[in-house]
């Protein structure tokens, strides 16, 4: 990996974090707007090994839990699982395909929401159904769409280089 590629890779991730705290509010409601933080984690897992991905997921999840104390710990658990599984899935499928990456982003977002909802136990019944069948898929779609755009624009910078990660 060239040194400049490494910087660009981190620039993309930092950019996503900044976008999360700046423009996300203007991209629709909380339940529909793309999750840039989760997207940054999923892109990170493209390169990182499962252990690091799980740790990164745990850190991101814990930080998010600090912002939503009602489900403290659930976010950490969800992001840990999603980070680990995403990294593992990338290793298994190893596809540099936009559609497959989009599916990964979609599934990662939906799975994260599912785990958070189940682990926190805050919602149930019809509310849980609405969240999982309506709102979560919508957020997953927007997150996947943004992820595809990011990969399309900066794909070379975040390309899969497992051996060098």
């Amino acid at each position: 990996m060239r040194r400049t590629d490494r910087y660009r890779y981190w620039l993309v991730l930092i950019g996503l974090v900044v976008l999360h705290f700046t423009v996300r509010e203007r991209l629709g409601g909380d339940r529909v707007a793309p999750d840039f933080l989760l997207l940054a984690l999923l892109i990170y897992t493209i390169r990182a090994q499962p252990g690091r991905s799980a740790a990164a997921g745990f850190v991101i999840g814990l930080l998010r839990d600090a912002l939503t104390p009602a489900s403290f710990g659930a976010g950490a658990l969800a992001h840990t699982l999603v980070g680990y599984l995403s990294s593992w899935a990338k290793a298994v499928f190893f596809a540099e395909n936009v559609f497959v990456n989009g599916c990964l982003f979609f599934a990662g977002t939906w799975l994260r929401n599912l785990i958070v909802l189940l682990a926190s136990g805050r919602l149930g019944g019809a509310q849980l159904g609405w969240e999982l069948l309506v709102w979560s898929p919508m957020q997953s779609v927007t997150t996947a769409a943004v992820g595809i755009v990011v990969l399309w624009l900066f794909g070379r910078w975040v390309a899969f280089r497992r051996a060098e990660a």
Binding site: V18, Q49, P50, F58, A66, A76, A91
Partner: protein
């Protein structure tokens, strides 16, 4: 080529993963008294710059929305301000008209001028009072400033007013002090003089100084005596040494009117209305 999961995930990865899961479960099971300080500490340290960034973005967004609202309010105020002189003028006219109504006391019908966009509108216009309110043809139409014209035709709900600017308008007039008399008519049918009146038939030897207020004389059976018509502004011409014609600036321009009063037939034309009009209604 897919990598095998067994070759990919090392034992360290698995241990790290399990450690994170364990910590997550611990975090979930923490009591509130421990959970809240941890969350607060994270918000005040690691997350502080990001939250500040989010706060600034929110402020920026709110400032933009506020700016749009302020611009909209400013535009509305500017638009309202353009109408302010007109509103003040109309308000003043209505107030003076109310004062005239109080002084006339009876024998009049208030009416609204129904302006039309045609350029001939100042010559004759329609008012919102007709036969049902007691308006009759040849009734005098006045404003607080003075004579506007006379009713030429009457419908049930509306009337047509022939203003002093109409070429067929004539009124018997005298100076306010009664020194001279004559016939007032429009000065011309074209050019700038169309908005001036002329006092004709003034004997040659009788001088009328500028600023003299001309009022209706009450002769002719149409207009009561004492309605201001205008102010003499100069000599328009002489006719073979017999008479002089004076230019008269009208008391009120028809296009400036929004409301008028129509003097009904019950009042008659013998009354003297000089006391009903304000002394400054005809400005020199």
């Amino acid at each position: 080529m897919p990598l095998g999961a067994d070759r990919y995930a090392s034992r360290a990865d698995t241990l790290l993963f399990l450690g994170c899961i364990g910590l997550s479960v611990v975090a979930m099971s923490l009591p509130d008294r421990w959970r809240d300080p941890i969350a607060q500490g994270l918000r005040q340290t690691v997350l502080a710059p990001f939250l500040a960034l989010q706060q600034q973005t929110e402020l920026l967004s709110a400032a933009r929305a506020h700016y749009d609202a302020v611009v909209a309010e400013r535009d509305s105020a500017a638009l309202a301000a353009t109408f302010l002189p007109e509103l003040r003028s109309e308000n003043g006219r209505l107030r003076s008209l109310l004062g005239l109504g109080a002084r006339l006391a009876w024998g009049y019908v208030p009416a609204e001028v129904l302006h039309q966009p045609e350029p001939t509108n100042p010559l004759s216009f329609v008012v919102s009072a007709g036969r049902q309110k007691g308006v009759r043809p040849l009734s005098a139409v006045v404003s607080s400033e003075g004579l506007v014209g006379l009713v030429s035709s009457v419908d049930a709900q509306t009337s047509v007013v022939l203003t002093w600017a109409h070429p067929e308008f004539r009124a018997s007039a005298i100076a306010n002090d009664g020194s001279v008399s004559g016939i007032v008519a429009p000065h011309g049918a074209a050019g700038p003089g169309v908005w001036l009146l002329e006092l004709k038939g003034v004997p040659y030897r009788q001088q009328v100084v500028e600023g003299t207020v001309i009022v209706t004389s009450g002769l002719g059976g149409v207009f009561p005596r004492g309605i201001p018509i205008g102010t003499v502004v100069g000599i328009a011409g002489e006719a073979k040494g017999w008479e002089r014609t004076y230019l008269v600036r009208p008391a009120i321009h028809p296009s400036a009117l929004s409301h008028v009063m129509i003097l009904t037939a019950a009042r008659g034309t013998s009354a003297d209305l000089r006391g009903a009009f304000q002394p400054d209604s005809v400005r020199p």
